[in-house]
Amino acid sequence: MSDYAVTKTLDCKGLACPMPIVKLSMEIAKMKVGEVVEMLTTDPGSLADVPSWAKSTGNAVLESKQDSGLIRFYVKRQK
């Protein structure tokens, strides 16, 4: 399923709003355009927040997987 390489894994497990997207935005800022970060979160609010964040900032959510309480997002820096 993955035709992209994950540059970094960002562990946001256990963090609650707003920290997951705060950490995500800081991590993306450190990456180069085109790189992909794998973000792990247990915060249910992130299901809605990460796609909203991506839409607002012009980045892309390539994939998202949910496995019991753990949510995985693959986010690509697009600009």
Binding site: C17, P18, M19, I21, T57
Partner: protein, 178 residues
Amino acid sequence: MDIEKELSELKAKVNSAPGMENKLSMVVFSGELDKQIASLIIATGAAAMGMKVVLFYTFWGTAALRDPSKKAGGKDFMGTMFGFMLPKGRNKLKLSQMNMAGAGTAMLKSLMTKKNVASLDQLFEAAGALGVEINICQMSMDLMGMKMEEMIDYPGMKVVGVASFLADAKESAVQLFI
């Protein structure tokens, strides 16, 4: 009909129209813990979403910016009284409801720690790292006898008047009063 000329005129109009910038201006009027937390969560969330964020601390909110480890001298009687009566910084704030003589506040703080919700300290740190701008109302500082020397260290924090806030608010897509 000069399309290019019309287009550039239109562009200029849109760019200078009020409320168009990807910016959030927030008046932080309240000095209660729950309202300060809400303000900072919204501010850091907005900054994480790529918005420029400007906070205008005024009235009771100003007390949250005091640094308990700092002192400011040279106050008159009223200034000293206010200094005594107002909370000394963000870790001394009360809930706006259910404070129950401090029990409610303590309960909320312990719940937040238990659920790993960011504390006010962590939120202020995140805000600083994300470039959230904090401006303090000059008049509130004057009225309550507060001085810059007793305020927290926060990158770029400065004293402004209402015109500065309104200029920021006018350009912002989102304006809030908490």
